[in-house]
């Protein structure tokens, strides 16, 4: 609590653990380590049986799933962005509105 200019108590917004940059940085570090472990886990698969092999797995042999997962996300977003240009309309489009008016309508990252 702190005192404002008019003498009233002001409620200080609670700080969450995700507000601390160190915490976010540490979480990301843990995540990158997990990525590394799973990358190395590929070698575990050399001795593991795949009861239902797909031709893609047989042809690429290594890192099929990490590469596919990563590329899928990028592909999804890189297709969705131009789709938005084509499809976006104002929020009241179905109530008689028209084209999207850009930043006037708001949004955030």
């Amino acid at each position: 609590m702190s005192h404002g200019q008019d003498g009233h108590h002001e409620v200080k917004p609670p700080e969450g653990w995700m507000d601390r940059p160190d915490t976010v940085k540490r979480l990301l570090q843990v995540f990158y380590v997990l990525c590394g472990v799973l990358f190395l886990a590929e070698f575990l698969l050399l001795g593991a049986e795949n009861a239902h092999p797909h031709p893609l797995e047989e042809r690429m042999r290594f890192f099929v799933y990490p590469v596919y997962g990563f590329i899928s996300f990028w592909f999804l977003v890189l297709v969705a962005r131009p789709m938005r240009t084509l499809l976006i309309r104002s929020e009241d489009y179905y109530e008689g509105g028209g084209a999207y008016r850009g930043d006037e309508e708001g949004g955030h990252d």
Binding site: P13, G16, L45, P66, W74, R89, G107
Partner: protein, 596 residues
Amino acid sequence: MTSLPPFVLFFVGALVVALTKGAVRKAVVLGVPLVGLGSLWMGAGQDVAASGPQLLYQLELIGYTLTPFRADKLSLLFGYLFHIAAFLGFVYALHLGDGAPDGSVAEDVGEDDVVGNGTATLQHVAAMLYAGSALGAVFAGDFITLFVFWELLAITSVFLIWARDSERSYATGFRYLIIHVVSGVLLLSAALMIAHRTGSIEFGAVPLQGAAGWILLLSFGIKAGFPLVHNWITEAYPESTPTGTVFLSAFTTKVAVYALARSFAGADPLIYIGTAMTFFPIFYAVLENDLRRVLGYSMINQIGFMVAGIGIGTAMAVNGAVAHAFADVIFKGLLFMSMGAVMTMTGRTKGTDLGGLYKTMPITATLCIFGAAAISAFPLFSAFVTKSMIMVAAVDEHHYIVWLFMLFASAGVLEHAGIKIPYFAFFAHDSGIRTKEPPKNMLVAMSIGAVLCVLIGVFPGQLYALLPFEMDYHPYDTYHVVTQMQLLVFGALGFITLVKSGIYPDEKRAVHIDAEVLYRRLGPWLVRTVGGAVARVDAAVRASVMGVVGSVLGAADRSHGQMGPLARSWPSGSMVLWVAILLAAYLLFYLWEFGL
């Protein structure tokens, strides 16, 4: 021990709910699904285990056999599921009528009754009838009984949309009703054609040949959210009340999945329709701002896996499809519950308005993450042990391209339901909203859902034992666990790199047009434009025809009118004169002719 058709208890329960309130009503809404589940398990469930499929309460009607209660492993699985879903839904909706929840800031954005306290009775009664209708449909053994419950599903559930009591919800509800009634009419038409051709109305496998098969498929497809007829899902779910959407997400589409599994298992077109359903909604889900609408697209994506599995048609694939339907009702219900809790406490569901809620709603955030992990198919969660059966069946049947699309769609699920939903609601930027956790009953319902997601994932054998076909499948092997973790974690790495590089699209206060534009903008525009042109041509033709008719009538009036020469009245004196002239002329002619 034979039990009553399960819908009966729910319909009687709805009557009791309508006539009671307070603690009695709460006891009834919780008791009906629990008693119903116990009765089904101990009655028809044991009978089927001991003696195989049961056809109960059959009666003859104009030469056809009606079967209101057919119990076999397939219908029982959905029967158990719908009882569980109804129980979870009613626990979640138990606070209706108790006033605004403590700590809710929904009024700040003009949502004076976001819970729907004013429509509490309507919601409880409609939900009870809706759940009963879903049970009636899955236990129907003939097309006429199915048709009755198919229409009741629409008529009862629309009140859960109208219960929001807004202009937009009324309009959405009417569109929803029209679409579902059309589906019912198609079902009845197909049923009559099948009855005419085969002499039977049994609700069983139907060959995808001729008009009857395709019309029936379209009828089921409308309710399942096939491409181009899918927008009732993305329209209706965001417009219902927080509790209403939880019920809506559980029943209608799953009844359609059941119907497809019953009638069209092994129909090739379903493989490609289902694959398309897994694929296209994930692009919309990336862009969409309303998080309940994102979950609507996610619903279509998940049903796509089920539809494709039914199309593949092997024992493994159909088992995978219905097992995934079972898991989906619970994890999707959990996600809708978490967004409903956010809506209840903040009055908002859009990504642009939310963020940072983990500070004030940490339990809800955690439970939402359980649902996100389950739908993303992380090991030890439910979809890992259900969706993989469909993927394995696709490879076993050499549908390699389909498998690649499904794998892409699996990554897409992680993006929109696994990351986007919890990230934009509970983390991302701090929206400044300060609220509290939702009412305890909502937390309890979400907790039960989260526990079930884990239980199914950890002990899949319990669910597998309920599946309709024998199979030998073990989801937990090194290869499956490692590759699935690789797919998901490197997909998440893709998300982080996209956000960090600023390429990930912002949330926008906007809509993204979809097939609904055909009937919400193009249709009305066509009616206005074509109708206007037709009206103008009609007016011109009428004017010219009326001109011609007027001219003819004018001419007739001039000659035959009151003062016209051909209609003038002649005095008798004149007539005598003219007769005398004529006689004189005749006399002269006579004299001249005879030479006199």
